[in-house]
C-alpha cells in the first residue's frame, strides 16, 4: 500500500493541438440547450499530484475548473513512464498500460440527476442539494462528514428538483479502486442512487473544467466551483466496501432468474451467409421484457430492473411501446422522486444507448465474420 495521503491523483493535460477537456453548452434562440461532448483526445501529459487537506484539494479543483485542458484520473502512472512526454490513456491492458490502479484515500461520487427537494436543483442551491444528498441519501458513514462539492457540466440546468454534482470525500485509509468501484455499483443498485461508477478506474476521466457556455452565462458562479462543506462528525469516511455485496448479489440473482424466465432464444438457422442475408445477431430476446419488468420493478429496486428490461426491449420493441409500458409501471410503483428520475427522457436515452451499443457490436461481428468466413456459409 502506498503512503496514505488524503488526495493523491493524476492531473492529465490535453496534448493534442486544438482540443479541450470540456463540454460546450449552447443556448439556442428558443431557449433550448445543445451540448457538444468532449473532444476525443488521444495524447495526455500526466502530472502526479497529492494534497493533504480538503482546503488544498478544493484549491486544486478551483484551478482545474478554469482550465479547459485538464482533467483528473484516479490511477497512477506505470513505472518508468517518461512524464515529460505525452501518452495514451491506457490501463486495461497491462502490457501496454500507461496508467494503473492503486489504492486511493479518497472517492469522488458523481451524482447524475439525483432527485432533491424542490428548489435545490437551482444553480445557487448546489451546496444545499449536496448536503441533502450527503445527509439524507448516502449511507450513514457519510452523514455530517466533511466533503468538497464541485459542480458538473449540467449542474443547475436539469430542473428545480434535479441535482447534478460531484462530492469528494477523503477516506480513513487507502482503498483499492476495484473495491471502491464495487461499492459504488452496489450503492447504485441497492439504494437506487444515480451514482456513476465509471470514474472509479485508473484512467477514466473525471472532467473538472467548467464547460464553454455559448449564448448564456455559466449558471454556476465561480465561488461555487469547489466548496469545502464542513462535517460535524468526521473529516474522513470509514467506508465499508463490502456493505452492499450481499444485497447486490441478491438483486443480481433475482433479476437474472427473472430474465432467464422471460427471455427465449430464437431457433438457430443451420445455414446462413455472411454478411449478405444475415441479421446479426441471430439471437432474439423474444420474450418478455414486459414480464421481466413486471416481476422485478420495485421488488428489486428500480435502476437495475429498468436497465435490464430496457436492454431487452431495445432489441425488439418500439420506443413508444417501451415508454408507455415502463411509465405506466413506474406510475404504479415508484414514488414521485423516482418517477422524475426515471422519466421519459431517461428511458429514451437508455434505450438509445443500448441500441447504439448493439449496432456497434453487430457491425464488428459482421466485419469479423467476413474476415473469418469470407462472406460464405459458416454453418
Amino acid at each position: 500500500m502506498p503512503d496514505r495521503t488524503d488526495y493523491a491523483f493524476m492531473v492529465c493535460t490535453v496534448a493534442d493541438l486544438g482540443k479541450t477537456a470540456v463540454k460546450t453548452i449552447t443556448r439556442g434562440v428558443d431557449g433550448s440547450l445543445t451540448k457538444k461532448d468532449y473532444d476525443l483526445v488521444v495524447r495526455w501529459k500526466f502530472s502526479p499530484t497529492a494534497v493533504e487537506s480538503h482546503e488544498a484539494m478544493a484549491a486544486q479543483l478551483r484551478g482545474l475548473a478554469l482550465d479547459r485542458r485538464k482533467m483528473v484520473v484516479m490511477g497512477e502512472h506505470v513505472a518508468n513512464l517518461d512524464l515529460g512526454k505525452p501518452h495514451l490513456r491506457r490501463w486495461a491492458d497491462s502490457a501496454h498500460a500507461t496508467l494503473r490502479a492503486t489504492p486511493r484515500g479518497w472517492i469522488a461520487l458523481d451524482l447524475d440527476d439525483v432527485v432533491v427537494p424542490p428548489g435545490m436543483g437551482k444553480p445557487g442551491r448546489l451546496i444545499d442539494a449536496a448536503v441533502h444528498v450527503r445527509d439524507k441519501l448516502l449511507p450513514t458513514e457519510f452523514v455530517e462528514t466533511q466533503m468538497i462539492v464541485t459542480p458538473t457540466s449540467q449542474s443547475g440546468l436539469r430542473g428545480d428538483d434535479v441535482g447534478r454534482m460531484r462530492l469528494w470525500f477523503a477516506l480513513d485509509r487507502a482503498v483499492p479502486l476495484a473495491d471502491l468501484k464495487r461499492w459504488v455499483v452496489g450503492l447504485r443498485k441497492v439504494n437506487d442512487l444515480p451514482v456513476d461508477p465509471s470514474v472509479i478506474q485508473a484512467g477514466q476521466p473525471i472532467y473538472t473544467g467548467r464547460p464553454v457556455f455559448v449564448g448564456m452565462a455559466d449558471p454556476i458562479s465561480p465561488d461555487m466551483h469547489a466548496v469545502v462543506v464542513p462535517g460535524f462528525c468526521a473529516d474522513t469516511v470509514t467506508l465499508d466496501v463490502s456493505a452492499f455485496d450481499a444485497q447486490a448479489a441478491v438483486i443480481d440473482r433475482a433479476i437474472k432468474q427473472a430474465t432467464r424466465a422471460a427471455v427465449t432464444y430464437a431457433p438457430h438457422t443451420a445455414v446462413t451467409h455472411v454478411p449478405a442475408t444475415v441479421t446479426y445477431p441471430r439471437y432474439v430476446a423474444g420474450g418478455d421484457w414486459r414480464r421481466l419488468l413486471d416481476m422485478t420493478l420495485g421488488v428489486n429496486g428500480f435502476f437495475a430492473p429498468l436497465t435490464q428490461a430496457l436492454g431487452l426491449a431495445a432489441r425488439t420493441a418500439a420506443m413508444i411501446d417501451i415508454l408507455s409500458f415502463a411509465e405506466a409501471l413506474l406510475a404504479e410503483r415508484a414514488d414521485s422522486g423516482r418517477r422524475l428520475q426515471y422519466n421519459a427522457a431517461w428511458i429514451r436515452r437508455t434505450v438509445e444507448r443500448f441500441r447504439q451499443a448493439d449496432e456497434r457490436s453487430q457491425a464488428e461481428i459482421r466485419s469479423l465474420h467476413a474476415r473469418i468466413f469470407g462472406g460464405q456459409s459458416n454453418g
Binding site: K256, T259, A270, P281, Y283, S361, E364, I365, I372, N378
Partner: protein, 143 residues
C-alpha cells in the same frame, strides 16, 4: 449492461467444461485433426474444436473450445474476436464453414508454434469454460 442482459443459460448447451482444470496464460497448442466442426443446439450455434495444449510440464492436454456465431451477442462478439485473432496470427485464408476453417487453421499453423492466450472462467451456470483471449505465432526452432 447490454452484454450482461444476454448472459442467459442457453438450454441444451454442452456442459463439458465442468471438469476443466484452471488454464490461464499462454500455451502452445494445435488443433486435434478432425475435431473442428459446427454445432447447433437449436438455441445457439457455431463451431467447436479440440485444442491440444502443451502444458508447463510438457505433457499434452486436450481442451474443447466453442465459438458461437449465433447466441448472446456479447459471446458471439467475443468468439469472433478470438477466431479472427487466430486466423490472422497463422495467416489462414477466409473460408466457408467451420470444418473448412478448421482445416485452414491447421494447415496454416503447420511449421509454426502457435501460442494461445487462454483464460478459464465460470460461465453463468457456474461451469468452467476456457476462452481464447489472443493468439500469436512463434516460428518453431526445431523440427
Amino acid at each position: 449492461v447490454a452484454s450482461e442482459i444476454a448472459d442467459i443459460a442457453p438450454e441444451g448447451a454442452e456442459l463439458d467444461g465442468s471438469i476443466l482444470p484452471t488454464i490461464n496464460g499462454e500455451f502452445a497448442g494445435e488443433i486435434v485433426a478432425g475435431a473442428f466442426g459446427p454445432f447447433n443446439t437449436g438455441r445457439v450455434g457455431g463451431g467447436s474444436c479440440v485444442l491440444r495444449l502443451e502444458m508447463r510440464d510438457g505433457s499434452p492436454f486436450d481442451v474443447r473450445l466453442k465459438f458461437l456465431t449465433s447466441g448472446p451477442p456479447h459471446i458471439v462478439l467475443r468468439d469472433a474476436r478470438a477466431l479472427a485473432a487466430w486466423v490472422e496470427a497463422v495467416g489462414a485464408p477466409p473460408t466457408a464453414g467451420f470444418t473448412a476453417l478448421g482445416e485452414n487453421l491447421w494447415i496454416a499453423g503447420c511449421g509454426k508454434r502457435v501460442l494461445f492466450d487462454l483464460r478459464t472462467h465460470e460461465d453463468h451456470r457456474g461451469l468452467s469454460e476456457v476462452i481464447i483471449v489472443n493468439v500469436r505465432v512463434e516460428r518453431k526452432t526445431h523440427a
